[in-house]
C-alpha cells in the first residue's frame, strides 16, 4: 500500500485533536493560540489531502481498512476509508476552503471572549472532522456517522450565540429538519441491509449485488436516500432551515451552509451513482425537485433585504441546480458545480461577513450603499464572486452552470428554459445585491459611516485566494466545444460514469451565447433599476409574496407545526394528566385509602386477634374440606 495512504486516518483525526484540545482547554488557551491551533490542524489535513490527491491523480486508489466496526453474524461493517477520485476531490474542497475560513474566523470572531472563542473553533474543528468522515467513509454507515456529526455541528454553530432565543430556534429548526431527512437515509440503509446484507460501497455497487435488487427496491432505496439529501442539502420541501441557519456566525454560513455540509447530499448521490442510474423514476423526481427548488429560491432571493438571507436563498437555488444535474444523470456536472460553488459562494459569504464586520453587525442592505469607496478589496472580490455565480464567460460559474444547462437541454427544452430563466434570476438578484450594497450613496447612520473600514489581512487574504479560485476554478472543466478536454470528467471517470451530451458543437455555442447574452441583459437591467436605489415603499402583490418567501414558513406552521402542537397538547393535557397521572396517582391513593380502612383491625385487643386467628383457621379448615 502506498505510504501516504497509511496516514490517511490522520486527515480526519487532526481536526479531532484540534477539537479536543480547544474544547477541553477552552478556559486556559489564549485566543491567539486556539485560533492558530484550529487553523494549523486543518492546514495539516489539507497538506495530507494534497499529497493524497497527487497519488490519486496518478490513478492509485485504495480502500483502507482500519478496524471492524460492527461484526455480527449476518452483518459485517468495517471502518474503512475509501480513497478515490471523488472522495479526494471533496477532501480538497473541505480542507482547503475550510482552512481559509478558519483563518478568516480568527479575525472575524475577535470580539468574542476567550472561552467562547475557543468553543467556536472547537465546534468548527469538530465539523471538519465529521465532514471528512462523511466523505472518506468506505460504506454508508461511516457516511451516516459523519452525516449526523455535521448535523450536530451545524446545530451547535447556528445556535452559537445561544443567548438569543431566535437563534436557538433557528438551530432547532435546522436540526429537526435535518433529522427528517436523516430518517429517510437510515431507512434506505435498513432496506439495503435487509436485501443484500451489506452497506460497503464496493459490494453494494457490485453488478451481482445490484442484480439482486428488484425495481421497487432500487426506486425505494434511492428515493429514501434522496429524502436524506433533501434534508441536508436544503431542497423542497425541507429547505426552510437553511435561510434561518444564517443566525450563525458568517464564516459558519460560508463553510457549513454554503461550501461543504449542504453539498453532502450531492456527494451522497454522486457516490451512489450506480444505484441512481438504475432508478429512472427517482431521477425524474430529483430533476423536478431540483429545478423547482432552484426557481423557487431564486424568486425569493430577488426580494430579500438581508445580505445573508439573499446569499442563503442563492445557495438553495444553486443546490437545486446541482440536483438538476444529478437528476439528468450528469454527475460530473453536479460535482463540478459543487466545486465552483464552494469557491464563489464561500467568497461571497466571507465578503458579506467583511461587510457586516465593517457595518458593526448591520445586515440590511437597505442601510448600506457606496461601500466600494471604503472597502475596495471586499468590493472587488465580491464583484468577482457575482460574475462567477452569474455565469459570465471566463469565470468558474460559467463552465459548471453551462454544463448543467446543456445537460438539461439534452433532456428537454422545457427543463432548459426554466433552468435558464433561473440563471437569469440569479444574475439579477446577485447584481441587485452588489449594486445596492457597494454602489450609490451610503444610507446608514453617521456612526456607521465613521466606523466603515477595510477588514484586517486575516480576512482579506482568504477573500483574495477565493476570488482567484473563483476565476480559475472553472478551467478544470472546459468543455470540448471550447477546445478544452474537460480534465474533471476524465479525472472522475473511474468513479462516475460520464455522460454523452449528444450535442453538436454548434448547439453548444448557441446555448452558451444565448445564456451569456441574456445574463448580460439581466445584469444591465439590475444596474438600471437599482443604480439610484432609494428605500422602496412596501411591496405589493407578487413582490410581497416573494418578500415573505411565498409564505412557506407560515404554511408549514399551519399544516404541520400547529396540528402537531395540538396533538402534543392533547397528549400533554388529556392523556398525560388524566390517564397516566390518574393511573399512577390512583394506585397510590387506593393503597392509602385501603390501608386507612384496614387500620381498625389493629385494635390492640388480644381477644380480637385471637378471634381473627380462629376465624382464619376455620376458613382454611373449610377450604381444606371443600377441596
Amino acid at each position: 500500500m502506498n505510504n501516504i495512504f497509511k496516514l490517511i486516518w490522520l486527515i480526519p483525526v487532526l481536526p479531532l485533536i484540534g477539537f479536543l484540545i480547544n474544547g477541553l482547554g477552552r478556559k486556559y488557551l489564549s485566543k491567539k493560540s486556539s485560533g492558530i491551533l484550529a487553523s494549523a490542524v486543518i492546514l495539516g489535513s489539507f497538506i495530507l489531502s494534497l499529497l493524497t490527491f497527487i497519488q490519486v491523480n496518478q490513478g492509485v486508489t485504495s480502500n483502507v481498512h482500519l478496524f471492524n466496526f460492527i461484526h455480527l453474524n449476518s452483518l459485517k461493517v468495517a471502518f474503512d476509508f475509501k480513497i478515490d477520485q471523488l472522495s479526494v476531490l471533496f477532501l480538497m474542497i473541505i480542507t482547503g476552503v475550510g482552512f481559509l475560513i478558519h483563518v478568516y474566523s480568527t479575525a472575524y470572531m475577535h470580539e468574542e471572549e476567550g472561552k467562547d472563542f475557543a468553543k467556536y473553533f472547537a465546534y468548527l474543528n469538530l465539523f471538519v472532522f465529521s465532514m471528512l468522515l462523511l466523505v472518506l467513509g468506505g460504506n454508508y454507515l461511516i457516511m451516516f456517522i459523519g452525516w449526523e456529526g455535521v448535523g450536530l455541528c451545524s446545530y451547535l454553530l447556528i445556535g452559537y450565540w445561544f443567548r438569543n432565543t431566535a437563534y436557538t430556534n433557528a438551530a432547532k429548526k435546522a436540526f429537526v429538519m435535518n433529522r427528517i431527512g436523516d430518517l429517510g437515509f437510515l431507512l434506505a440503509l435498513f432496506w439495503l441491509i435487509s436485501k443484500i446484507g451489506t452497506v460497503q460501497y464496493d459490494e453494494v455497487f457490485d453488478v451481482a449485488n445490484l442484480a439482486k435488487l428488484s425495481n421497487i427496491d432500487i426506486t425505494g432505496i434511492t428515493l429514501l436516500l434522496f429524502v436524506g439529501a433533501t434534508g441536508k442539502s436544503a431542497q423542497i420541501p425541507l429547505f426552510t432551515w437553511l435561510p434561518d441557519a444564517m443566525a450563525g456566525p458568517t464564516p459558519v454560513s460560508a463553510l457549513i451552509h454554503a461550501a461543504t455540509m449542504v453539498t453532502a447530499g450531492i456527494y451522497m448521490i454522486a457516490r451512489s451513482n450506480a444505484l441512481f442510474s438504475l432508478a429512472h423514476e427517482t431521477q425524474t423526481v430529483i430533476t423536478i425537485v431540483g429545478l423547482a427548488t432552484a426557481l423557487f429560491a431564486a424568486s425569493i432571493a430577488i426580494k430579500q433585504n438581508d445580505i445573508k438571507k439573499i446569499l442563503a436563498y442563492s445557495t438553495v437555488s444553486q443546490l437545486g441546480f446541482m440536483f438538476l444535474a444529478l437528476g439528468t444523470g450528469n454527475y460530473v456536472a453536479a460535482v463540478f458545480h459543487v466545486l465552483t460553488h464552494a469557491f464563489f459562494k464561500a467568497l461571497m459569504f466571507l465578503g458579506s461577513g467583511s461587510v457586516i464586520h465593517a457595518m458593526g453587525g448591520e445586515q440590511d442592505i437597505r442601510k448600506m450603499g457606496g461601500l466600494h469607496k471604503h472597502m475596495k478589496i471586499t468590493s472587488i472580490t465580491f464583484f468577482i464572486g457575482c460574475l462567477a455565480i452569474a455565469g459570465i464567460p471566463g469565470f468558474s460559474g460559467f463552465f459548471s452552470k453551462d454544463e448543467i444547462l446543456a445537460s438539461a437541454f439534452s433532456h428537454s427544452v422545457v427543463l432548459y428554459s426554466i433552468a435558464l430563466f433561473t440563471a437569469l434570476l440569479t444574475a439579477f438578484y446577485m447584481f441587485r445585491l452588489y449594486i445596492i450594497t457597494f454602489t450609490g450613496t451610503f444610507r446608514g447612520t453617521n456612526d456607521q459611516k465613521h466606523h466603515l473600514h477595510e477588514s484586517p489581512k486575516a480576512m482579506t487574504i482568504p477573500l483574495l485566494i477565493l476570488a482567484l479560485l473563483s476565476i480559475i476554478g472553472g478551467y478544470i472543466g472546459v468543455p470540448e466545444a471550447l477546445g478544452g478536454h474537460h480534465y474533471l470528467s476524465a479525472y472522475l471517470s473511474p468513479v462516475v460514469e460520464s455522460v454523452e451530451h449528444h450535442l453538436t458543437n454548434s448547439t453548444e455555442y448557441l446555448l452558451m451565447g444565448l445564456s451569456t447574452i441574456l445574463v448580460l441583459v439581466a445584469i444591465l437591467y439590475a444596474w438600471v433599476k437599482y443604480k439610484n436605489y432609494q428605500i422602496e415603499p412596501e411591496a405589493k402583490g407578487l413582490g410581497k409574496v416573494l418578500q415573505n418567501k411565498w409564505y412557506v414558513d407560515e404554511l408549514y406552521q399551519k399544516i404541520i407545526v400547529n396540528p402537531l402542537n395540538a396533538v402534543a397538547n392533547f397528549f400533554n393535557n388529556i392523556i398525560e394528566t388524566k390517564l397516566i397521572d390518574g393511573a399512577v396517582n390512583g394506585v397510590g391513593k387506593g393503597i392509602n385509602y385501603g390501608s386507612r380502612q384496614l387500620r381498625w383491625l389493629q385494635s390492640g385487643q388480644v381477644g380480637a386477634y385471637v378471634l381473627l386467628m380462629v376465624i382464619g383457621i376455620l376458613i382454611l379448615f373449610f377450604i381444606q374440606l371443600i377441596l
Binding site: G604, Q605, V606, V614
Partner: protein, 110 residues
C-alpha cells in the same frame, strides 16, 4: 371402645377451650382454656396410639406401639414448664397494671 367416642370427647374439650379463650377476659382463665385445648390434643393422641397398637399390622411388631403414649408424657412435661413461664408473665402483668383483664393490655395498638 369405639374411637369415635374419644374423638368426640377431645373435640368438645378443644371447642370449650377455644370458646373460653375467645369470650373470657381473665388471663388466668384464658390460660386454663389453652391448657384444656392442649390436653384435648393429648387425649386424641393417646387414643389414636391405643387404636393403632390394637390394629393387626402393628401387632406384628410391637416395637413402636406405645411411642405416642410416651410422647404425651414429654408434652405434659414441656407444658408444665410452659405453665410456669405463662403464670410468671401473668404475675408480672398484675404487678404492672394491677389487673389480669386482657382487654387492658392494648398497648400493641399504634
Amino acid at each position: 371402645m369405639d374411637i369415635k367416642a374419644y374423638i368426640a370427647l377431645s373435640l368438645s374439650l378443644f371447642i370449650i377451650g377455644i370458646i373460653g379463650v375467645l369470650i373470657r377476659r381473665n388471663a388466668i382463665i384464658i390460660f386454663m382454656c389453652i391448657e384444656l385445648m392442649l390436653n384435648a390434643v393429648n387425649l386424641l393422641l393417646v387414643a389414636f396410639s391405643k387404636m393403632h397398637a390394637l390394629s393387626p399390622v402393628a401387632k406384628a411388631s410391637l416395637d413402636y406401639a406405645s411411642d405416642a403414649q410416651i410422647f404425651v408424657f414429654f408434652i405434659m412435661v414441656v407444658a408444665a414448664a410452659e405453665v410456669t413461664v405463662g403464670l410468671a408473665i401473668i404475675v408480672m402483668m398484675y404487678r404492672n397494671v394491677h389487673t389480669v383483664d386482657v382487654n387492658f393490655l392494648n398497648r400493641l395498638k399504634n
